[in-house]
Symmetry: C2
């Protein structure tokens, strides 16, 4: 693990702008500027700017385009983002603010965002303490970087009040907050109703609900939609059969372990979980306790995380289109940043129920 003399090695390789932080001679690589490119190509800095930004159509002679491109290549010129942003009044940064990045679901959302925004924007994630949103102060400093746009995932009203940003802004997964900004939401209610119908069809009449206690609106929505649909289908979910934990397999398992005896006595035959993660806890604890899934207890969740397809048994889950969520939000934002009108400022994406073995013996 220890290399010869890492200290000296590092000093040899590192080049620092001002002073070499470790040792050695000051290396000061001078930034390549548009002026340098211009000099080399025998044109003005204005022309270099035009070429570098691809705005040459009818404004720069083919000759000069070629000459400038060559100079850019040779010198390894990259347009300075700071200078450019100051002149343009806006940077090419898109800031993505999210409370929970430790989630395979979120990784897919990001993929979607990047696809929608392409190479024209640089997507950076605002990093905050786990589960929380940046403070008003942090926000102000971030906005002083003049981002081209802002994407906010699963926000709460308080954060949006503080924000009051005057830049293109799109919300993701922000049910009930559509009044603050254009939003892309998931129709979790639809999946919840499908799930209720499925459980009813499987003959379940007494059901429990394991909720998520994070204060994000989507969980309230999932629960209420399920409970409402269940009620109309003759499924009974007594209030004391609704419990909640954080989004953590262990916490869910522990909660299930302590409540299951009472639930079993009450005749509960199915439990719906606010997230797949909660459901994993139930699946696991059920195995330990010898509760057979789905014969003794049917289990279902929301999210359709990758693992739900490969778990044993597979987990029935309401599929949420993570990548589409990111893509649509990115696409809306792109339009806003281009100054286009939004055909619809509120997009709702469909969800669907994936039936697997955890609720149905006949599932694949």
């Amino acid at each position: 693990m220890e290399s010869g003399d890492p200290r000296q090695d590092a000093a040899d390789r590192l080049e620092h702008r001002d002073e070499p932080p470790i040792a050695g001679k000051p290396v000061r690589p001078h930034r390549v500027t548009a002026a340098m490119v211009a000099a080399r190509a025998g044109v003005s800095a204005a022309t270099v700017s035009l070429v570098a930004n691809g705005k040459t159509a009818g404004r720069v002679s083919e000759d000069n385009v070629v000459r400038v491109r060559a100079a850019i290549q040779e010198l390894g010129y990259v347009v300075d983002g700071i200078g450019s942003s100051l002149a343009k009044g806006v940077s090419s940064l898109v800031l993505l603010v999210a409370p929970d990045i430790s989630n395979p679901f979120f990784a897919k959302v990001i993929d979607g965002v990047r696809q929608a925004l392409g190479a024209d924007y640089q997507v950076l994630l605002s990093v905050t303490d786990a589960g929380s949103f940046p403070q008003a102060d942090d926000i102000r400093r971030l906005l002083s970087l003049r981002p081209a746009g802002l994407l906010v995932d699963a926000p709460n009203a308080r954060f949006l009040e503080d924000l009051s940003a005057s830049i293109p802004l799109v919300l993701l997964d922000a049910p009930g907050l559509e009044s603050y900004a254009p939003s892309v939401n998931l129709d979790v209610a639809f999946g919840a109703r499908e799930l209720a119908a499925h459980l009813a069809a499987e003959g379940h009449r007494t059901v429990a609900y394991l909720d998520s206690v994070t204060g994000t609106d989507t969980f309230t929505l999932r629960r209420e939609a399920f409970l409402t649909a269940a009620a109309t289908l003759g499924i009974h979910v007594a209030p004391d059969r609704i419990i909640g934990t954080t989004i953590d397999v262990g916490a869910a398992a522990a909660a299930f372990a302590s409540t299951w005896p009472a639930w079993a006595r009450a005749g509960v035959t199915a439990v719906v979980c606010g997230t797949d993660t909660h459901a994993y806890g139930v699946l696991q604890e059920a195995r330990v306790t010898g509760v057979r899934i789905p014969e003794d207890l049917a289990v279902a969740g929301f999210d359709d995380l990758p693992y739900s397809a490969t778990s044993n048994p597979g987990l029935t889950s309401v599929h949420l289109p993570a990548e589409s969520l990111g893509f649509e939000a990115g696409d809306q934002l792109r339009r806003l940043m281009l100054g286009e009108m939004l055909a619809q400022s509120q997009v709702t994406l469909e969800t669907s129920l994936l039936i697997r073995r955890s609720t149905s013996v006949s599932a694949p």
Copy 2:
């Protein structure tokens, strides 16, 4: 879910810099500049800058400090990051580049980084497609934002070659790459040796290894350190008893399911996993198959994720100090950004073995 008319609501609230993207009257909130503050306070812009940056000691009269502060308050002035960066030659951005953010481990690393860097720097996460590093082009564009420093987690040599950045740079979890830049590493070898000793003490002689197939050096290090220590302790790990999967519970479970019969026949009594996530797959599949943990098979992992303490049975794991990793790296970087010398450019953090029920019936 549908509010009255979300489209119109959004239009009412949004204020956009250039044109209102949806409808309504153009609202153009003029940016508050230092010049405006100066005018209000009856001083020059230079004085405003001094006050806003807290460089007043012996340079601005108490009177003016008070007056400027008041004007800043009243106008809600925030120093423009772009203008400031251009003048200073560097921004207050710290870029964190990492291949895998969907990991509770990484969330803790970030917490550590933020603690070390405090409010003086803005930490933003470079977002790339899952599991990959930014391309050389992306890097160039990011560097054109003139970040104050760069933190790179679990890099590979190729990325570092491409990078060749001339700004303060610290690597995290980059064993064997110390020659590229100052690094903070984890002494995973120590934990691996502890684990080998523990298994030897528990009487295991025939052991299997479930590796991670991502090409990150830490996994090679974990495996080799364990195998080397095991060999000296009389533990036998036949080459064909080393298998690998991606970091995914389902994949690990499937791999274990298909190999276990052969392992059992060969007399394997313990399996060491490259990550706790792999181990969860084994724990789960073992339950399904009726393999008793630890009586029939001892299971251990690396990472000590939160769930390993609450799983059933608890998972024996090599604890990796995620938050310290982030803090130390952030601290080193802070020093570099301040132009300080680094006392040591290579820091290695201790790891430790946490013994739980998955390897020891007598564990708590």
